[in-house]
Symmetry: D2
């Protein structure tokens, strides 16, 4: 997968890291949820979240929408890592196993395809013991001529 | 769509309302998000949420995962309204328009099909001005022999 | 839903009908499958297909992919009815009931949202006895500056 | 991923191959489409199809539904390879690149998760030159107490 404006590997990685810092500084939702962006690269991201009591539904398991929120975060960082402002046009989530209070969830996003202004990204969500909690597939749409982090100088 | 254990209309509505109360009392995630369950019926539910500052991503719009969380809540209440414990096996979300701080989102869930232990539910999410924010389609799976609200006497 | 280049109702319907005729003349797959386009309008289409022996899988029911092919046909005609060349970027299909040899399937497509170059369309597939066979949700992408039927003069 | 009734590797592979033969003998749709099942294993299958003139839509590219039909075939063989009758409850398809007359498409299905009576399978579809045509995610549902190939003695 070659991105249209591909840079050297080092440049691309540098841009991804600066974008992460810029996005993270302004991203209130993920701070509220305690999500950490543990790694980033061109088209990839890994994020983690610990399941808190205030994330549980009436069955004492994490609300499925919050699993999707974690996966969507990995997707958002992965698809913005080129510093071209990109939003989700949609996604699907399949839930395989529940997670409980105190579980640590890790979502890993990888680019499946990027062509023109649209892309597809796959995200897996695992628990700390390796259990597969769910799989997510996101569809991205790049905004024309807008940077994710406007003042990034590369 | 006739549910296998269909009751009279009044009974079915009564069960739905008791289930809503029972689920809501124990549902910590939706309390944390300020979600209200504004109406319930057999296979249907309407829920609302006001977009708060701590729900915004770095682009100052609501995190897409939280739109899915709202829609998933409507879906969960709709598919549990028969008092047979039902979980989401998956869902898809298409996002059409952003929502900003202070916007009031309403998600309406309706049953498309319920057959055996699986069901499909459609949810629409609108803003207070009528803008369609997104559409969600959920797939439900009923747990064998378990009640959503165990001690409900009907 | 107002399409960017909205015309009067009569003009829009006329364009849709001319597009149907133009698409149908060149559409070899739907001729091979015996699909008829029974009605068309701006953003809507109805198509039918009779299940033949050569559409059955090893369980003697119609191959699920061919149900999707019928639904995708309704979607394609609905989203091209404005005479702006539009392709599917993806779709989801939920299958609810099987269909057998001789069953007549009808797929009805309706526009959920059309904004900029992307759209979402819902399609339902029913049997002749009213049984819901499946629901399909398609995502469309409009090609820039290309007509579906190039020489249509309106 | 351990299947509940896991056998030795050789037994599982033998069952898969006998199931393939049994399914293929009765599968009229894939004969009509010229689909070959080129490899099979427990939870996996590879299938191929050459794009024919009668598979093209009005834009002279393969009908998207027929790409899904090919992917759905790989999925069906993969999820039935344990000889427990399994049907698709639904799937999603993302289309990345068109295919033209004469292109040879290969779909490879792999099991993501199998738990209880439901499973998730991923399928990729490539052209002969390595171009990714689409990705498909299928959801399976196992019928209780029914064999795919009833008289298979193992």
């Amino acid at each position: 997968m070659t991105h249209p404006a591909a840079k050297s590997t080092e440049q691309a990685q540098h841009i991804a890291e600066v974008v992460r810092a810029g996005m993270y500084a302004n991203d209130r939702a993920i701070h509220a949820l305690g999500i950490a962006i543990t790694s980033i690269g061109p088209g990839t991201a890994t994020v983690t979240m610990t399941v808190r009591a205030d994330m549980l539904n009436g069955f004492a398991i994490i609300h499925g929408g919050l699993v999707a929120t974690l996966a969507d975060t990995a997707f958002a960082y992965a698809c913005n890592a080129y510093n071209e402002m990109t939003v989700a046009s949609g996604f699907s989530m399949d839930l395989m196993a529940p997670a409980h209070e105190g579980d640590v969830l890790t979502a890993v996003a990888a680019e499946v395809q990027l062509a023109g202004r649209t892309g597809v990204y796959d995200v897996t969500v695992h628990k700390q013991d390796g259990t597969l909690v769910g799989v997510f597939r996101g569809r991205s749409y790049r905004m024309k001529g807008r940077k994710t982090v406007p003042h990034l100088t590369t």
